[in-house]
């Protein structure tokens, strides 16, 4: 089959020494970027574009792409070890991953995260290779009403993660929505809730809030414990055991599937995809109430989704020149600089390049697996550092992270504020996840709603007319319905969300 031939040809190029080297460099940088909270792949890629411009096109794009998916690998490490998400897409991994770490199971968590990412990357590659053009057309059918439906589904996840007290969970979500509204309204240019403070015109950045709400609050909480090592007990092994692997198989499959499909749609960002994947996993589980206490499925699925969507995001990029996320927009810029025009012409005239890049993505996945697995004992040993030393270091890294997002000291103050708020929220048992979900989704949700209503000139029927939109809304309704049902049926046993 021609495709297989092309793929093999691509591998032959991807495995050339120079390309291999830059794939490695990119993976390494990407992992580092992912581990360090705040510095995202998009900014790093942009900074490296002038450097990459001097390289031959294939090597350059291979390196930049490796940074992108490498960051996804790295982002989960700090989520699991320190409850600090490396980026917004890793927030969900904190829920169960960190709990596993506290139970001494950081190694298996990290291991499953890497394995899941690898398998998902492979799945994505196959999907990319064999299904590419067909799926793009489906993805384009996503207009504002469909986006609205998907985002409502994402928001409904907040209900299922509300914890014991529904009013508290809803309050957290509502607060997140209101925080998202601060700044300039994208639909009209009006400033909302800024009260003349210029810095508020940019609104609250998700990473800054997450770092404050999770990391700073975490350190403050830990400071109460006189024990010098927060992670009590033996570190139970560095690798996932057989049971872990068995338990994770289906979640990985589901996560990859969901991630791959949703990653095709321009405008759907990885955080949303991981939330949906986590929620799906929870519903498919026999013990949904245990999610949030250290279930390995809660790590396997979102990590798979995470990596699958980075792979499938390449499809709209290469086929239509449509970047689905900010990082891919940077990659698009790099393509252009090298004179590579996305589109069908790319597949025809630059076959060698396209297949080399696709093949190198697989090579990159292998490399990252090889890079990350042996590093696990090293990462885990970080946990042994006495907390009086580790805690302050974490705080400083958080400050750097918050500053680095927008080169703004104002953001650091915001982080501090949310750190204190997060601490209070823990004491008062207000869940933080709904706030984060709502903050990420708030603006997009409002945009999609208003765009839809503009298109339909005010008619709400538009949400019901589209089968896709209707499907998502119905799923959200059912999802909320079940959540409420289980909640009132089993008052005693309910999901606890940590942090």
């Amino acid at each position: 089959m021609e495709t297989i031939q092309n793929l093999l040809f691509g591998f032959s190029i991807a495995l050339q020494l120079q390309n291999l080297f830059f794939c490695f460099v990119g993976s390494l940088i990407g992992t580092l970027i992912g581990v360090l909270p705040g510095l995202g792949p998009a900014a790093t890629m942009a900074i490296l574009i002038p450097f990459a411009a001097g390289l031959p096109p294939t090597a350059a794009i291979i390196m930049l792409a490796a940074i992108y998916y490498g960051a996804m690998y790295g982002g989960s490490s700090t989520s699991i070890l320190l409850n600090i998400p490396g980026e917004a897409a890793s927030v969900v991994t904190c829920l169960d991953g960190y709990q596993m770490a506290r139970q001494g199971r950081a190694g298996p968590a990290l291991g499953i995260s890497a394995i899941s990412s690898f398998i998902a990357g492979t799945v994505a590659l196959f999907g990319l290779v064999f299904l590419a053009p067909v799926l793009v057309d489906v993805a384009l059918r996503f207009g504002p009403p469909e986006h609205f439906g998907l985002l409502v589904l994402g928001l409904s996840v907040a209900v299922s993660l509300a914890g014991e007290s529904l009013p508290k969970g809803l309050a957290s979500a509502a607060l997140g929505l209101m925080l998202a509204a601060v700044g300039i309204d994208p639909q009209s240019g009006l400033t909302r809730y800024t009260f003349g403070v210029v810095n508020l015109m940019g609104g609250f950045d998700v990473v800054v809030v997450v770092v404050g709400l999770f990391a700073i609050a975490e350190v403050l909480s830990n400071a109460e414990t006189p024990a010098f090592e927060i992670f009590k007990g033996k570190i139970a092994g560095f690798w996932p055991n057989r049971k872990d692997l068995r338990d994770s198989a289906a979640p990985i499959a589901r996560g990859s599937f969901v991630g791959f499909l949703l990653g095709l749609i321009p405008g759907v960002v990885p955080p949303v995809i991981t939330f949906v994947s986590y929620d799906l996993e929870k519903r498919c589980s026999k013990h949904p109430e245990l999610f949030g206490t250290g279930r390995i499925e809660g790590v396997a699925a979102p990590e798979g989704a995470n990596n699958a969507c980075t792979g499938s995001g390449m499809i709209p990029l290469f086929v239509l020149g449509l970047p689905t996320t900010a990082s891919l927009a940077v990659l698009l810029g790099a393509l252009m600089i090298h004179g590579l025009q996305p589109g069908p012409m790319l597949f025809e005239q630059q076959k060698e390049f396209v297949w080399a890049v696709l093949a190198s993505m697989y090579v990159g996945n292998v490399m990252l697996l090889v890079l990350n697995l042996p590093l696990i004992p090293l990462w885990v040993s970080f946990l042994r550092i006495p907390y009086p030393l580790l805690g302050p270091a974490i705080i400083v890294i958080c400050v750097i992270a918050a500053y680095g997002v927008r080169n703004s000291l104002f953001d650091v103050w915001i982080m501090l504020g949310f750190g204190l708020l997060g601490y209070a929220m823990r004491k008062l048992e207000f869940p933080a996840i709904p706030l984060i979900i709502a903050l990420i989704l708030g603006d997009r949700l409002e945009n999609a709603l208003r765009q839809s209503l503009t298109l339909s000139r005010g008619s709400l029927v538009v949400f019901v007319e589209s089968p896709i939109a209707l499907g998502f809304l119905a799923t959200a309704a059912v999802s909320i319905g079940f959540s409420l049902y289980y909640r009132y049926q089993s008052r005693g046993v309910s999901a606890t969300t940590h942090g």
């Binding site: 009209s188 449509l322 970047p323 080169n407």
Partner: protein
């Protein structure tokens, strides 16, 4: 040599002191730049304008022998980064990149914390044309057909734009105004950036867009959209079959997106000149021209004075459009 007497020595000494003091104040520019310069880009890393800046600055950095840091300070449609530069001392070590931000945001936002006149224009770098695009199966095959159809029933037309202060808004407003159509009557859908707008066009959720041509090329070649016109004065090398608005008899479709540099108020003319000369030279470098033209961007250097006039014209046009459309709040 005859020995100078004390008085002559004293006068000579005072003269030397006076000369060195004078050169320290006036001739500051002769030693500019002496240390690292920050170019503040008020958009996120990786955006089109950001890449232009990152392409050009290494040349200047090498020429002047000082590091030039490109610092992204996104937020508030470019307001935050611009305000940060306005608050910096006018010593030429902090400048702001302006990618269709200043004259647009100041026109649309009544509570914008600065006016375009608060900045010292340094020079324009480049322009990139917009492309009037429709879905591939649209009944409109020429711009004329589109305009006539729109004229008949503006309310039925769904137009997508990438944001509230984007060039697309003003480009379309200008175009329609010149043929007697009130842009306000069209169903204007605002998306969050160029990519979602083009995706919506390709998916046939809207009927027309006027985003930067660079965002349209791939979709055009993939057969998902049709480009009816470009807004540059000459045909674009990457789109040789697409006529310009001027050619088609619609010279009002001439809005492009552009990039330029500004400094804080009261930037000394000597420093501005150093920048202007440097930029002019950089923009003549074939490698830079090549890298920009690949991105559907034409080098379009304007001196500080010309750039100032350009900004003024843009601002006045934008203000009129903003008020007509009821955008200015």
């Amino acid at each position: 040599m005859r020995r100078m007497n004390d008085i002559q020595a004293g006068i000579l000494a005072m003269g030397l002191v006076a000369v060195s003091l004078l050169s320290a104040t006036v001739g500051g520019a002769a030693e500019y730049p002496k240390r690292a310069i920050d170019v503040v880009v008020p958009i996120s890393a990786g955006g089109a304008g950001d890449t232009w800046v990152r392409t050009i600055m290494p040349y200047l950095s090498k020429k002047w022998g000082v590091p030039i840091n490109v610092v992204n300070k996104p937020g508030g449609s470019g307001v935050i980064g611009t305000v940060a530069v306005l608050a910096s001392p006018p010593d030429g070590y902090t400048v702001a990149y302006d990618g269709h931000i200043v004259p647009a945001v100041t026109a649309i936002q009544a509570d914008c914390p600065f006016k375009w006149t608060d900045l010292t224009p340094i020079g324009k770098l480049a322009s990139a044309p917009l492309a009037f695009a429709v879905p591939a199966d649209s009944p409109w095959k020429t711009l004329k057909e589109a305009v006539e159809d729109i004229r008949k029933n503006p309310e039925a037309i769904k137009a997508g734009v990438g944001g509230v202060s984007m060039p697309a808004v003003f480009a379309l407003a200008k175009l329609f105004d010149s043929v007697g159509i009130d842009f306000k009557r069209l169903n204007r859908v605002i998306f969050d950036g160029s990519a979602p707008t083009m995706a919506a066009l390709a998916g046939k959720h809207v009927m027309l867009t006027s985003q930067p041509a660079i965002d349209a090329i791939a979709l055009l070649k993939a057969g998902k959209i049709r480009v009816l016109a470009v807004s540059s004065s000459k045909r674009s090398p990457n789109l040789p079959d697409v006529p310009t608005g001027k050619e088609l008899g619609y010279p009002a479709y001439d809005r492009q997106t552009y990039g330029g540099l500004n400094g804080p108020a009261n930037l000394p003319a000597a420093i501005t000149k150093v920048w202007a000369d440097g930029l002019k030279e950089a923009l003549e470098d074939p490698a830079i021209v090549e890298k920009l033209s690949v991105r559907e961007t034409l080098v379009d250097f304007q001196s500080p004075e010309d750039y100032r006039k350009f900004l003024e014209t843009q601002y006045k046009e934008n203000l009129a459009i903003a008020e007509q459309l009821g955008l200015r709040k």
